[in-house]
């Protein structure tokens, strides 16, 4: 009997390091996955569309004019997805007004457009009449523009370069400083 006990103890002694090694390797693999994962940025957000041609957009503005995004090639285009009842949209609005005023005095100004997300024309008109902002507001009545850009929550701001490629996505509120800085960096990198 003592022989059996000894054999069993020896088997256990040999098996323990093997099991411990396997568990250790699995734990290290999990750790590697966590460490190597990209951290989520609070301002610039990731998107599969970055560096890709902008989705086709064809709609109308609140003034009744046609808006086709591909016709805007040659200019930097900023699309701001907006809803007049969304608190962060209301909070960022003065920043956009300041940016638009400053940009209008630039030699090659970027074009700013508001994309109306799940909101009525009247509510948007009333909001802009009260809070300012004379840039174009484009309709997205069926949500197709939001889906095309992968916009789930407003506000979101996208920058499209003069060649029609998506260059930046900012999820959440934006500031004039951030917009100026990012637009400057993009112009330096991809040409104005």
């Amino acid at each position: 009997m003592s022989d059996v006990s000894t054999d069993s103890a020896v088997a256990r002694t040999r098996l323990a390091p093997v099991i411990a090694s396997i568990v250790g390797v699995v734990m290290l693999a999990f750790l590697w996955v966590l460490v190597s994962a990209d951290p989520n940025s609070s301002s610039e957000a990731d998107s599969p569309l970055l560096g890709q041609p902008a989705p086709a957009v064809s709609t109308t503005t609140l003034d009744g004019e046609n808006f086709v995004l591909s016709y805007r090639k040659g200019s930097w285009v900023i699309l701001n997805f907006f809803n007049s009842t969304c608190v962060p949209c209301i909070a960022e609005h003065p920043e956009l007004v300041a940016f638009a005023e400053r940009e209008s005095q630039a030699s090659n100004p970027a074009e700013l457009y508001t994309v109306i997300n799940d909101d009525s024309d009247d509510a948007v008109r009333a909001f802009f009449a009260e809070n300012g902002g004379d840039w174009q507001k484009v309709r997205d009545s069926d949500g197709s523009i939001s889906v095309a850009f992968g916009v789930a929550k407003v506000p979101e701001t996208w920058i499209v370069d003069p060649n029609g490629y998506v260059r930046l996505r900012v999820a959440g509120s934006i500031t004039t400083g951030l917009l100026d800085e990012q637009l400057g960096l993009l112009k330096a990198q991809f040409g104005s």
Binding site: S8, A11, I22, L49, N117, D118, D142, G143, S144, K153
Partner: protein
């Protein structure tokens, strides 16, 4: 039970298992015929996650983003130019892989499929090993000292 009967029994069980697996594979993969557009929209929206909800599919959710995605799926199904997989891939290309309720079997997502199988194999291997060791330790021989101890106990009990 004789050896011949035991072997026959094993073959019967093996055959039954094979038939069951074959039927399951056939049932799971057979073509159920053409689907209506509504069926396709339902099937696609059930595997796409609502991007603003926690664990809800676009099929279930009534959030604004889910409504927009459902409308886009309906448009693409109606156009008849894309397969179901291509429509799901379109949504992944817009919103990222976070909208996939069924993870891909490639890249890091494959871990979701591989790890449970790996854990199951490890668990089964450990069980087999443990059962074998128990059966070995159960067949240990009785020593003279053991016999003497039992006889002594019986004598004391009388």
């Amino acid at each position: 039970m004789s050896n011949a009967a035991s072997v026959k029994n094993k073959w019967t069980w093996l055959l039954l298992t094979l038939v069951a697996v074959a039927l399951l594979v056939f049932g799971g993969t057979r073509d159920t015929g053409p689907k209506t557009q509504s069926d396709r929209i339902d099937a696609i929206t059930k595997v796409i996650a609502c991007p603003t909800c926690q664990g809800e599919s676009v099929y279930v959710s009534r959030a604004s983003a889910a409504e927009s995605i459902r409308a886009e799926v309906a448009r693409q199904v109606a156009s008849g130019q894309k397969t179901d997989d291509e429509i799901v891939a379109f949504m992944e290309a817009r919103f990222g892989s976070r909208v996939l309720l069924v993870p891909r079997s490639t890249g890091l997502d494959a871990l979701v499929w591989v790890l449970p199988v790996f854990a199951l194999v490890c668990a089964l291997g450990t069980l087999v090993f443990a059962f074998r060791r128990w059966s070995v330790s159960g067949s240990s021989t009785v020593s003279d000292a053991d016999i003497e101890m039992v006889e002594q106990a019986l004598r004391d009990a009388e």
